[in-house]
Amino acid sequence: VHTVQRSKSKVKWRWITIGTATFGGISYYIYFQFQPADQPKVANKSTVTLYRKMPLKMMSRAWGTINNLELPVVLRRPLIGLYVWMFDCKLNEAADPDLRNYKNLGEFFRRTLKPGVRTVNADHDLTSPADGRILHYGICKNGILEQVKGVTYSLKGFLGPLTWRGDIDDVNNLSDEEYHQKLKLKPGHELYHCVVYLAPGDYHRFHSASDWKISYRRHFPGDLLSVSPGIARWIEGLFNFNERVVYAGTWKHGFFSYTAVGATNVGSIRIYCDEELTTNHRDHGDRNNVRDACIIEGTEMGKSFQKGDMFGEFNLG
């Protein structure tokens, strides 16, 4: 009887601890989601560790499962309509503006647009890959990128070894500057970057940003932290923590890479030419277990992409 009582007490305390930690974590997360845009404070290491310990991948998978259940037709308009109202979705741009025709929120989230509502600019080399907001852009100096002004992340951590150049060195032994030099840019060239943030109500399919060709895919299972501008100002190296799929290749000026970075509740990335890719899957195990794929010439992924070509989509989950 004594043993049973003691084990019951242990279970009770364990649940109190888990409950308190989860509540505290979620409160902290919500607080920072709604921080003003000019919040300059960067989180310390222990806060980042605590944030990364939260079961965000599991929560996202549960969210994806719920939102893939087929809703009764009578509930579709009020439930999906609430999401449309909350996030100011432009329903008039959707290929199908009738909410009753979407089986669930997941299907609405990956909606297509009416033909002709977007024009792909023909005069410029680089066009926006998605509907969203420019989080940051600029030149990459000495292998360091800026996710927002003054908050950085490392290029070698983001892309990993330069396998597509036949270079399989352990990047941990290289400095950021050495890694940058190994990219071997053409004389008179620089390395640029641009980050486009997709907010919840935005159209969540994405397109080719230029005329280019893929030569390598690398999938980092990683975490699913929020990538909202407030969190990007708060967590240094945010994009190196998150689950992402890097496609590296070439365009008319040399090296070109296109990366889809997942986020809390939006960790399910689908790339139309890459059927083998699965993201936010429990079988991936360790978040550091990187999955690479060489692209074979002549396959669907090895073809050349044109500016504006449909490339992939983010899904709830």
């Binding site: 680089l126 066009t127 926006s128 600029g138 892309l159 640029y192 641009c194 997942g262 990335i269």
Partner: protein
């Protein structure tokens, strides 16, 4: 979710957007 583009371009490459600007797909980012 986020899309990150990292690319090589000549030194005179110029962005046509500003930080915080809303963009639509197909809109020019730079030349």
């Amino acid at each position: 979710s986020t899309i990150v583009l990292i690319f090589e371009a000549p030194r005179n490459f110029e962005f046509k957007v500003q930080t915080g600007q809303k963009v639509s797909y197909g809109q020019p980012l730079g030349y």
